[in-house]
Symmetry: C2
Subunit: 554 residues, 2 copies
């Protein structure tokens, strides 16, 4: 690469090799633009962790360079880390109306004020330092989603955002074919594109087709209808409201996040609710069953959600009766399959008719399938291609797709979080690495739960803990009290008294031996207790509880 | 129901409302027959539990009545509880050759000897007390699977076993249409039928179609091919071996359970291995890549499996190189999706080409889809129908299917584990309930991990534990040592010294207050410590670790 050539760096800090915590840094000289700021939900083995956010060491080290954070849409994997990041770095945030409203609600929840939120709309242009940012309308499962064109002195970077191509969107706002094509015609240096659905052949169906399927189910329903979906899927909510109105049913909302989003969306004009259609849940339950529709949270079987509580017969206001119809208008996110199945099972048990994933047409994805991904590449005609927003296999498959469309293999970068991709007008290369990774959030603690804490939680979860306490005489090391044994999560103590007595005996033997050998070093005594007791318990139970000897001195 | 009418009871002890731990009791007078004896794998929240088996209280109470256990096939959800049950009740076990060989291997592993295993083959008839049992050939994803006809003085009970209908099975052993039809013609009182795939329309494809798909992939593969499937899927293994041989490749087996099953199947003649085709893994790795096929465990992404270790670069002998092809010839069992996705991702990262669920044809199910389920009902023409082997929603859907075929709603029983279904020649009814449920196995402990232990493990997993120890003077209650605080899985201690110091201060305050108020009752002191400390820690961290005060006296 020529010494004097201008160069631009793309640095993904999240969203590569994973679906979640999206964050991309664009750096030119000493100016940085950040695109998206999302979270990811914890893996199964991250016991007790609430959410996971990107490591922003790089941003903290270069905070003075940051011109702003651009947010493409209001999903958690794009906005969820904002409260944590904005607490550390006070920079302006740019996004469309609904996106900002959702961010605002989130910041309020976290008690953050004074954040500069700047509203933009599709086709707006923003000048931020050396960057000129254009906002491009795309279709997605949340209203007001955009892709981006970032014009830089080196060339134009196009970021697809999360997208699909919906020719018949509910809000009439069609994907901006012209703008993407115009950018392609003028010349695009790099395209970064959504890889979520690269494994699906064909086209993703229009959101409108879901309306047809829901219409059919609601029309035929004899009793009450409960529909669940992601709260942020305004268009889905709109369709349910419209269909309910058509069949002379009233609608009530159940579940906190659904209530919040519907309020925000209605206030901003993203929902068209016929007067009198929306009623309180308390009111709805007194209507005849065939006049009622409930839109609720719980499409992922979340144990705290309205639908889950309804399914378990634990909801304060809503009880399932035979004749009720439940529509789960969503697919389980990988990892939630069993939770959703359990919800469905309980609903069936209560006598409901349940329409879920097995039933065609009641849900469509918000992400582009293979033919749409091809269309994106063909419209934008980039010199370099970087698949983003996907697990590793998806990035690879998206790269292959791009190759099939004629982009040379050497111009495609399947990157990892933290890698610095450097581009001139003609060349691209991996040029080093910056810190990147997972920061675990547990309660108020951000980053204080690490490998050691997780390893301990895992062992505790597996076989529990056994605590051995004893008090020694400071002067001569003789035992004044104990050894006592307390266990939690290991065995049902009342039925294991004999085992625990025997364990105490083993500890006494260890202590006697230590005394014989004049061992007075606490850490050696503790290690011996752990060792002997561990072997004894494993032999007796084939379990390996954490063994924690505590010695006090008097 | 007439007082003098003869009656027969069907009592499911497992397999209803779940896929797993199948066990059915058939009782006539004082004679009992048990069908299947399976396990189920633990739910996510059953921390540390290895397997779950049926509660056999009913069998223990009526042990002298049991004529034997009939096993339909060799899958874990049908044989997995045998070592535990046979340890308690020594009764003969009846099954086909391969099924018994797998049981034998399992009993050996558990160190059980002296079990009476009696081999039968399809169309055999067995007289056990008042029961006459016929074995009926069915197709399934393990060889030597049977359904059952149990002739009783009240009528004939047909049990489908796990089945599909494969017109072109690999071993040429076709589903016994004649026998099922003959039973139907002669009159069947009750049909119990497999509900696993009731949500799938159409027919399940033949196992042979997988061979075509595998042939295509292996033919085109440039390098080494690794195929993973369930170890027990002998027909799948057979097809891979045959295809490997066709393309002049040698085959090696990786993974303990795969080695075991292949050895057993080969020995008994269930696998036809061309001489010289099967080699040791050590030998295979020295062959040219395009001469090698590995059949391995790990189709569920199990962290200890051969494929997982290969994917993570941790296998002693096999390392993935670009050009390798991996075929995951199985679907993830619900709950394993993320583990499988992680395996696939790592394989892609190592440079392998991976064929998995997204690719059509490389796997078919072993269970009947809707059209086959209808065929079963039409062949058997039962008076009463009991859907089994399925989660609740599946049982409901299977019941509806039967209704569509003309079985009256009142003759269909969607039952729960433990319910007693009583039938005369003309009538059926739910007639009470016997103990049934889950017995958790953790290490050597069978049933000693219950709700309390699990609740503790859950809390420990979530936020860890904080132990407060102090030594008091027996005579006057003054503190001689402590309070000391030890935590595990709560916070990273080195960075939380201040927090833990402050926590200690709170404990001291509690103790002082107790002293002031002359509280000397340990349980009150402990409750106060838990209370104050819990609030303090929640306020500071929004976490709720288990708080365990331990007081010693000197």
């Amino acid at each position: 690469m020529g010494e004097n050539e201008q160069r631009i760096s793309l640095i993904p800090l999240g969203g590569l090799g994973e679906i979640g915590k999206n964050m991309l840094v664009i750096r030119y000289g000493n100016s940085i633009l950040v695109i998206d700021c999302g979270l990811i939900f914890p893996e199964d083995e991250m016991f007790g962790v609430d959410v996971v956010i990107p490591d922003i060491t790089y941003l903290l080290e270069n905070r003075h360079m940051i011109k702003g954070i651009i947010v493409t849409h209001g999903h958690e994997d794009h906005i969820g880390a904002l409260p944590y990041v904005l607490r550390e770095i006070n920079v302006p945030v740019y996004g469309t109306k609904l996106t900002l409203a959702l961010i605002q609600a989130k910041l309020k929840e976290y008690g953050l004020s004074g954040v500069r939120l700047h509203q933009v709309k599709p086709r707006d242009t923003l000048k931020l330092g050396p960057f000129r940012v254009e906002f491009l309308r795309v279709s997605h499962s949340i209203a007001d989603s955009v892709g981006l064109a970032v014009h830089t002195p080196v060339g134009t970077i196009v970021h697809s955002g999360d997208f699909k191509i919906d020719h018949t969107p509910i809000d009439g706002e069609v994907f901006d074919f012209y703008k993407f094509a115009q950018l392609g015609e003028q010349g695009v240096l790099v395209l970064l594109s959504d890889s979520t659905n690269v494994e699906r052949p064909g086209f993703t169906m229009s959101e409108r087709t879901v309306g047809n399927a829901l219409d059919e189910v609601i029309r035929q329903a004899k009793g009450r209808v409960i529909v669940t979906s992601f709260a942020s899927n305004i268009h889905r909510v709109q369709q349910v409201i419209s269909i309910a109105h058509k069949y002379n049913r009233k609608v009530a909302i159940a579940g906190r996040s659904m209530v919040n989003v519907v309020n925000i969306a209605a206030e901003l004009g993203y929902l068209n609710i016929p007067p009198g259609t929306l009623v309180e849940l308390d009111e709805l339950i007194h209507l005849p069953k065939n006049r009622a529709v409930i839109i609720s949270t719980g499409s992922q079987g979340e144990p705290m959600s309205a639908l889950f509580r309804i399914a378990m017969g634990e909801h304060r206001q809503v009880e399932i009766v035979p004749g009720d119809t439940v529509i789960i208008s969503a697919l389980p996110i990988p990892g939630n399959e069993k939770l959703v199945a359990r919800t469905v099972d309980h609903l069936f048990k209560q006598g409901a008719d349940v329409y879920h994933e097995a039933v065609a047409g009641i849900h469509v994805s918000g992400h582009a399938s293979q033919e749409e991904l091809k269309l994106m590449i063909s419209l934008v005609k980039p010199r370099f291609f970087v698949p983003v927003h996907g697990e590793y296999r998806m990035l690879i498959k998206h790269a292959r797709l791009a190759q099939e469309l004629g982009i040379p293999e050497g111009n495609i970068f399947v990157a990892e979080n933290g890698q610095v991709l450097e581009f001139t007008r003609h060349k691209g290369q991996v040029a080093g690495r910056v810190p990147a990774g997972r920061v675990l959030v547990d309660g108020l603690g951000v980053g204080d739960v690490g490998n050691i804490v997780l390893r301990d939680r895992k062992q505790l979860a597996q076989d529990g803990i056994l605590i051995v306490v004893l008090t020694l005489n400071k002067d001569n090391g003789t035992i004044l009290a104990g050894p006592d044994i307390v266990s939690r999560g290991f065995v049902y103590v009342r039925e294991a008294e004999e085992l625990l007595e025997e364990a105490k005996g083993r500890v006494r033997q260890v202590l006697e031996k230590c005394e014989e050998r004049k061992i007075t070093d606490w850490s050696t005594i503790k290690a011996n207790i752990r060792d002997i007791l561990g072997k004894f318990l494993y032999e007796k139970t084939r379990r390996r509880p954490m063994i924690l000897p505590i010695i006090m001195e008097v």
